[in-house]
Symmetry: C2
Subunit: 242 residues, 2 copies
């Protein structure tokens, strides 16, 4: 079973204060880039893997999806998602994506935001999502970028000119990474960009777009702290088609 750090009160309390939890999609700078990868939503049956508070699940329904199933390991997250959701076309389920089996060909769109880097076996997950989708369906997701995750000590350093610089080591040594992020010893799984893409391709997906999110000049004018995201990517956004 995947580590359920989201139901650790210390973690949940810190996590809930993140701009993207307080402000929803408006607090997620990568949202416009992710949304640009979505197909036309009208009439689609969508699944949102690691739905958290359900911000995207609700958006999908408001933008045409017929039904949305949001899935999350965390009882805290699902409780809040249910509180925030009025429409019964958006349903929620507590489940561990690491072992989840969705019904075959039950969905026309699969989405996940910043969840799969908590999953140990991405090969299994990609095959399972592929089976759950109808032919032609899109599978769009974001994960922490492996450049961001690889190093033993992933934090800003400076180069000889004082420029903000990110250290990379252990890039080819895939597997568990433990970091302190609102709680001690949060477990994540580092995979190379190629490993993630090849797992999708082997599972039967065609890669459509690979975006290593960087803020736009307008976003940086609005939130100057985003400028450091130009130095190294924090998120990898992938659009694929079954």
């Amino acid at each position: 079973m995947a580590q359920n750090v989201y139901d650790n009160p210390e973690f949940f309390s810190g996590y809930s204060q993140l701009p993207r939890q307080v402000h929803g999609l408006a607090g997620a700078p990568e949202w416009p880039a992710l949304r640009a990868m979505f197909p036309e939503m009208a009439g689609k049956r969508a699944v949102d893997l690691g739905c958290g508070f359900g911000w995207v699940s609700r958006w999908l329904h408001e933008n045409g999806a017929q039904t949305v199933l949001g899935i999350d390991l965390s009882e805290n997250m699902i409780s809040r998602a249910r509180e925030l959701t009025a429409d019964p076309a958006v349903a929620y389920q507590i489940a561990d994506i690491e072992t989840l089996e969705l019904p075959e060909a039950a969905f026309d769109f699969a989405f996940s935001s910043l969840t799969f880097h908590y999953i140990r076996d991405f090969d299994r997950l990609a095959r399972m999502v592929q089976r759950s989708l109808t032919p032609g369906s899109h599978f769009v997701f974001s994960i922490e970028h492996p450049i961001f995750m690889a190093a033993t000590h992933p934090h800003w350093i400076e180069d000889e000119d004082g420029r903000k610089t990110w250290p990379v080591n252990r890039y080819a040594l895939e597997g568990e990474r433990r970091t302190d992020w609102f709680a001690k010893g949060v477990v994540k799984y580092h995979r190379r960009v190629g490993t993630t893409l090849n797992a999708l391709i082997r599972a039967g997906f065609v890669i459509e777009t690979v975006d290593e999110f960087a803020p736009s000049p307008e976003q940086i004018r609005g939130i100057p702290a985003l400028e450091e995201e130009l130095e190294r990517p924090m998120m990898l956004l992938v659009s694929s088609r079954r």
Copy 2:
């Protein structure tokens, strides 16, 4: 026109001493991984973009390709390639890949080793290669990995544990990079992994495999210095299909 550093005597003299030039394919640790991406070669008309001394051009013919056209900007490289090649089925041409136009549907396999990071306009190149290939053909190439190329000062540093670490900055700031490598001010073009893959997809290729080369345990036992390649990738290997 692309910078022709290979015809700078100082550069060429240093470059010619590299293990991969002295020992050919046996001196290129990524060669087994690249070769594993090749389709069956029998009867194929192949093009080798940035063929250098023609090591791969000759290998392709020896392994079934009917004809091979090796192309390089450098007169030095092409002269040496011609000296090393006896079979007229392997031909060479001096040309700048930045502006080259190959005939339409004239090839069944396109290859390039460590050349495209010298090319400013990869979008144009991908479209040109696509037109030059017959449907179903493979396009396999290696480039310097953007993790290796991005930073202002790309060289080993140490983290707080003394672990070999590679600095990344300016990752999202694509474009020219100047480095000193056998000569001063060698011009390369940094592109994100996603930018390279998206250009291929837009040009009409399907991504088949993305390999961020890392040496095998056997290779490290043979050449212990290769171990540092586990810390950060130096090369990106891509297989795609038209």
